[in-house]
């Protein structure tokens, strides 16, 4: 009798081994990854799309702003001031404030995140352009470089390391902030986190949290790698030093 009971117990546990069931509700669960695979992939893809769209938008806006701020020092303090003020607004407040204009769409999240990334990027771009030594700029002019060619061929490459530093910071914090987009139902992995809280689903919550951090690290490494490829002259110097 006891044997039979043990056998059925074993059978049922083999039949229903889900470590994410209500009763066990484990934090780490391989079965969950298999069963919910498509949901996890969808959320991750949405997360990546929102993050990249926001960072690209921010770069496209930040670069002209940085050039304007450098050219017109009088505008510099107001550009930095306004972007810093926007940066001060908490994300959970900024997304709702954009809703009247862009609705409950992914656009709301992308614009909100771009505003935050913008602040970091404008500062680092300005800092980067300033890090180009005056002598270098003067030699370029002396060699007959026009303003545009000097910017593209001389200043931008030299400013790249500092600018890329800003891009790394902006990207990593955007990955983390995308989760808050769940307030308008476009939070990528954030949607999984809020669902995990609502339904007390530990495996879902832990998986989404870990994926967020992994995503941040991967994107950071990708930027470091592309910087390494874009600035070949820094390797030789590092080796010599």
């Amino acid at each position: 009798m006891t044997l039979l009971a043990a056998a059925t117990a074993a059978a049922s546990s083999a039949d229903d081994p889900s470590c994410y069931s209500r009763l066990t509700n484990e934090w780490f669960c391989r079965q969950y990854l298999q069963d919910y695979r498509s949901e996890i992939v969808d959320a991750t893809v949405e997360h990546i799309q929102i993050t990249i769209a926001a960072v690209v938008l921010a770069v496209l806006i930040a670069f002209p702003l940085a050039l304007v701020a450098r050219r017109l020092p009088r505008l510099e303090s107001s550009i930095l001031g306004v972007s810093t003020a926007l940066y001060t607004v908490p994300s959970l407040a900024l997304f709702p404030l954009l809703v009247p204009f862009t609705g409950l769409t992914a656009t709301t999240v992308v614009i909100g995140l771009a505003i935050y990334a913008l602040t970091i990027l404008v500062r680092s771009m300005l800092e980067g352009l300033r890090s180009v030594p005056d002598e270098v700029r003067e030699s370029a002019t002396g060699l007959g470089y026009g303003a545009t060619r000097r910017l593209l061929r001389v200043e931008l490459p030299l400013a790249l390391p500092v600018m890329m530093g800003g891009l790394r910071v902006a990207t990593v914090s955007t990955v983390a902030l995308t989760t808050v987009g769940t307030i308008v139902s476009f939070g990528g992995l954030g949607n999984m986190i809020s669902d995990g809280v609502l339904t007390n689903f530990r495996a879902e919550l832990m998986t989404a949290s870990i994926l967020c951090v992994v995503l941040a690290v991967v994107l950071d490494l990708l930027i470091v790698g592309s910087q390494w490829l874009l600035t070949p002259w820094t390797h030789g110097k590092a080796a010599a030093a």
């Binding site: 810093t84 003020a85 940066y87 001060t88 607004v89 908490p90 994300s91 959970l92 407040a93 900024l94 997304f95 709702p96 404030l97 809703v99 009247p100 935050y116 602040t119 970091i120 500062r123 680092s124 800092e127 980067g128 300033r130 890090s131 180009v132 030594p133 030299l158 390391p161 500092v162 890329m164 530093g165 800003g166 910071v169 990593v172 914090s173 990955v175 983390a176 902030l177 989760t179 808050v180 769940t182 307030i183 308008v184 954030g190 986190i193 809020s194 995990g196 809280v197 007390n200 530990r202 919550l205 832990m206 949290s209 967020c212 951090v213 941040a216 690290v217 950071d220 820094t234 110097k237």
Partner: protein, 254 residues
């Protein structure tokens, strides 16, 4: 655009401010949370960061702490703490539901700007000044209290100010995981498709954030023992990839 007039109506209705779960009460609760977490983070972070800075160490700690703080989503950490067996969603004194979980998360996210800025500030005190202090026969303690701390106070305080704004922002997110504070107005509004209410809450949160930032900037100026004019930023060598600007600016983390 009707949501905007709805929001205005919500803001101008007295009953949305007063009473249990009115916005005034929630604001007081969130300010209390923010203050507590900031205080705890200062007690933990400042001595450590300043002491390491005095020894000329801690660059690795400062960089790593701020990197980790940036990569871990506040929302995820809050969610993990709330769903865990401890601290969970239990009531905690005046801090309300999930109070303990919220304070722990807020403190952890206040630490990076405080530690990073304080450590960098002390380490960046000019070696010439340190040598002068040594030459005058100051002991290590005297050198720290009379030379390094006054000279670095501005940057240390700006770290605390960044942490203040950051903690306020994070405290708002606590509402997404059923925690206390003003974020509740936003999440409740959006959950019940009462967008006017949600946007009204967002406006209040944003205004308080800007006020805190302004008060912080004022307090920083008052408390800084070395009067500072707006010095033009030092030029940095082009080979210096790590942007100090990131350390100082990003920590506001919304």
């Amino acid at each position: 655009m009707t949501v905007l007039s709805d929001a205005w109506d919500y803001l101008t209705t007295a009953s949305s401010w007063t009473g249990e779960d009115g916005m005034l009460q929630l604001m007081a609760q969130q300010l209390l949370l923010t203050g507590t977490a900031l205080l705890v983070a200062m007690v933990i972070g400042l001595p450590l960061a300043l002491w390491l800075g005095h020894l000329g160490r801690g660059s690795l700690l400062a960089i790593n702490v701020s990197n980790v703080g940036r990569a871990v989503p506040t929302f995820a950490l809050l969610a993990l703490l709330v769903v865990a067996d401890w601290p969970g969603t239990r009531e905690f004194g005046p801090y309300g539901r999930a109070g303990l979980a919220t304070i722990i998360a807020l403190t952890l996210f206040a630490l990076p700007p405080i530690i990073t800025n304080a450590n960098i500030a002390v380490r960046e005190v000019s070696p010439a000044v340190r040598q002068a202090a040594d030459g005058m026969g100051m002991t290590g303690g005297q050198k720290f209290w009379r030379v390094e701390l006054p000279l670095s106070a501005g940057l240390v305080l700006s770290g605390v100010r960044l942490a203040l704004v950051q903690v306020w922002a994070t405290a708002t997110i606590a509402a997404l995981v059923a925690g206390p504070g003003l974020g509740e107005v936003v999440t409740d509004g959006f959950l019940r498709t009462n967008y006017g209410k949600g946007i009204a809450g967002a406006i209040v949160i944003a205004v308080v954030a800007l006020v805190l930032e302004a008060v912080g900037a004022f307090a920083q100026r008052m408390l800084d023992p070395v009067p500072r004019t707006t010095v033009r930023k030092r030029r940095r060598g082009m080979s210096e990839a790590a942007p100090i600007v990131a350390e100082k600016a990003d920590a506001v983390g919304p």
